[in-house]
Amino acid sequence: MAGSGTAHLRGHDDVVLRVENLVMEFPAGRHQVVHAVSDVSFDIRRGETLGIVGESGCGKSTTARTIVQLPPPTSGRVVLDPGTDQEAELTTLEGEDLRQVRPRLQMIFQDPISSLNPRRRVRDIVGEGLHIWSEGLDDEKIRARVDEVLEAVGIDPTVAANRRPHEFSGGQCQRISIARAVVLEPEILICDEPVSALDVSVQAQILNLLEEMKHRYGLTLVFIGHDLSVVRNISDRVIVMYLGKVCEVGGADALYSAPAHPYTRVLLASAPEPASTVDESEAAIGDEIPSPMDPPSGCRFRTRCPRADDRCATEEPVLKALDDDHFVACHYPSVAGASGA
């Protein structure tokens, strides 16, 4: 697997964000480099929810961070609203220009406690975006808007607005984070494992809230997670990542009903309740994930792949279409109908 290639990119129509050949490398001392994200491309249509799954360290969060230019990627393009007069190529913007487009892309983080400033009150946290861009808005209007958004995320503003983050539970903090992110009505909301740190019962509430916010504010969601069932439930389209590369891209249902990439099959088989399309024994793969400082040649998954052969070590597979909206980067994919591998 490898996931170079752009066969899965769609035309301009209604695409709200296009990421092309995104590469992020961190220097790791002694002339070594961590290849966190290597040549990842994808696009998102307006109103779509894109899921990104993969195990820890596969570059999901780095992808999210580089999209919002915190920090900017080593190379690659991130284009907002391509083909419209609002088009903005984030990777070429700097300083004030970048600041001007920032509100169009917001993000929710994994750790609800760390994402809220412990010294500020909820009203100030949620109203921060409005205060920054407040030309023509008086305090009273900001107040009203903050109350409205807090109510929308299920926090009672009369009780909560003057409290500080440590007085809230993780789930409530995440609601406040969502309020802060949607208050400026962004086009895209990137959720970086927003429920991983929460209790299961709270997870469902937050996921429902995200769906609700999506409809209410017309958001496009990027949902990053490692829990496949969660990602499947919320996403229209899913990208499977491994060691900084894309393995498989497809509609959520197609991907789950006919997983073509061996790594996708491993992920599905490793779930507590494995999908019926895979055999539980497929979860057994050898070895630890290889070091991103020295990724394997050819297909990066080959060291753990049951189907790997010499070709996988030399030739990097490129994303190719299985059908209209299902792409896989593997030399020996499982094809729907045929039995797996």
């Binding site: 600041r99 920032r102 509100p103 983080f109 400033n117 920054i132 539970s169």
Partner: protein, 321 residues
């Protein structure tokens, strides 16, 4: 088998204890209304009290400060009037702290001496914290060349001999109150700056900083709204420790005749009382300012150290040299 049984008993009793502890904590937590802030977290309750020593120390500092501020209003003798009592008389009912070699009232002088000592100490530490804090936050948040430049300034300040600096400042600008204060604050700046930088780096990694930048906050806004409050509040605990330090430093300067020319501080009083003959005939002339300074600095250190623990500030920088 008996050994086995024994072990089992121990482990089960441990488990029982564990659960008892757990469940009582759970009950307490559950009994708390959601979001109630008045109740301290039961797990941290022991650390959440400042203790008697702290309040006694704060009480002494408050007493000295109050007396110093109110000195002109207090019914005490004129500290500069010569011959208010007999020369070099020991503590008595008329002059509680005795008189010095020219018959000035030592009680009144000790209170008036606190004014210069505390004022120079207080303003220099506050100025040092403000400037050093801003430098530290800027270099910790911006990194890059700003960090390098400010770091270089810090190292220059740290390696410049303090006494030479004072002599230079006084030669150039004189011995005014604000000049001495400024000179002392320069000594404080590098330590504060390094500490602020360390705390800033820890907070700059936090996600709320990323969130603020995503909302479009400018760097200045992020530093002022997100980082500075998080840095200054824990560092305020070190303000008291630093105040102790600057009071002693001012005393040292005054002893060398390098401090404020106009008026007198505890340090200058100590110098006046420290002549060999005075020490033999009237030791209280040196003893009372020494005692006042000692108690005040001790109190500041005790209170400051307790506050530092309370806010859980790492032991870095200040006074570490």
């Amino acid at each position: 088998m008996p050994a086995d049984t024994n072990e089992h008993t121990i482990s089960s009793s441990r488990t029982a204890k564990y659960w008892r502890k757990r469940s009582s904590a759970t009950v307490e937590l559950a009994a708390r209304p959601v979001g109630a802030d008045a109740e301290p977290d039961p797990d941290r309750a022991p650390q959440r009290r400042l203790g008697v020593t702290f309040w006694a120390a704060i009480g002494w500092v408050a007493l000295v400060t109050g007396a110093a501020v109110a000195a002109p209003l207090l019914p005490i003798a004129d500290p500069d009037q010569i011959g208010i009592g007999p020369r070099s008389s020991g503590p008595n009912w008329d002059q509680w702290f005795g008189t010095d070699t020219v018959g000035r009232d030592m009680f009144s002088r000790t209170i008036w001496g606190a004014r210069v000592s505390l004022m120079v100490g207080f303003f220099s530490i506050v100025a040092g914290f403000l400037v050093g804090g801003m430098m530290g936050v800027a270099s910790g948040y911006r990194r890059g060349w700003i960090d390098l430049a400010l770091g270089f300034v810090t190292y220059v300040m740290l390696s410049f001999p303090t006494l030479v600096l004072f002599l230079l400042v006084i030669l150039l600008f004189g011995q005014g109150l604000w000049i001495v204060t400024a000179a002392l604050s320069i000594v404080v700046i590098p330590s504060v700056s390094r500490l602020a930088r360390a705390i800033t780096i820890a907070f700059a990694e936090r996600e709320f900083v990323a969130a603020a930048r995503l909302l479009g906050a400018t760097n200045r806004r992020v530093m002022a709204r997100e980082i500075l409050p998080n840095v200054l509040i824990p560092m305020s605990a070190l303000l008291l420790l630093g105040l102790g330090l600057t009071i002693v430093a001012e005393g040292g300067l005054a002893f060398l005749g390098l401090s404020v020319a106009d008026g007198f501080s505890w340090g200058k009083m100590i110098q006046l009382g420290a002549g060999l003959r005075t020490l033999q005939t009237a030791p209280w002339v040196a003893f009372f300012p020494i005692g006042a300074m000692f108690l005040t600095v001790l109190s500041l250190n005790l209170a400051g150290d307790r506050l530092r623990q309370y806010f859980d500030v790492r032991e870095l920088g200040i006074g570490g040299r």
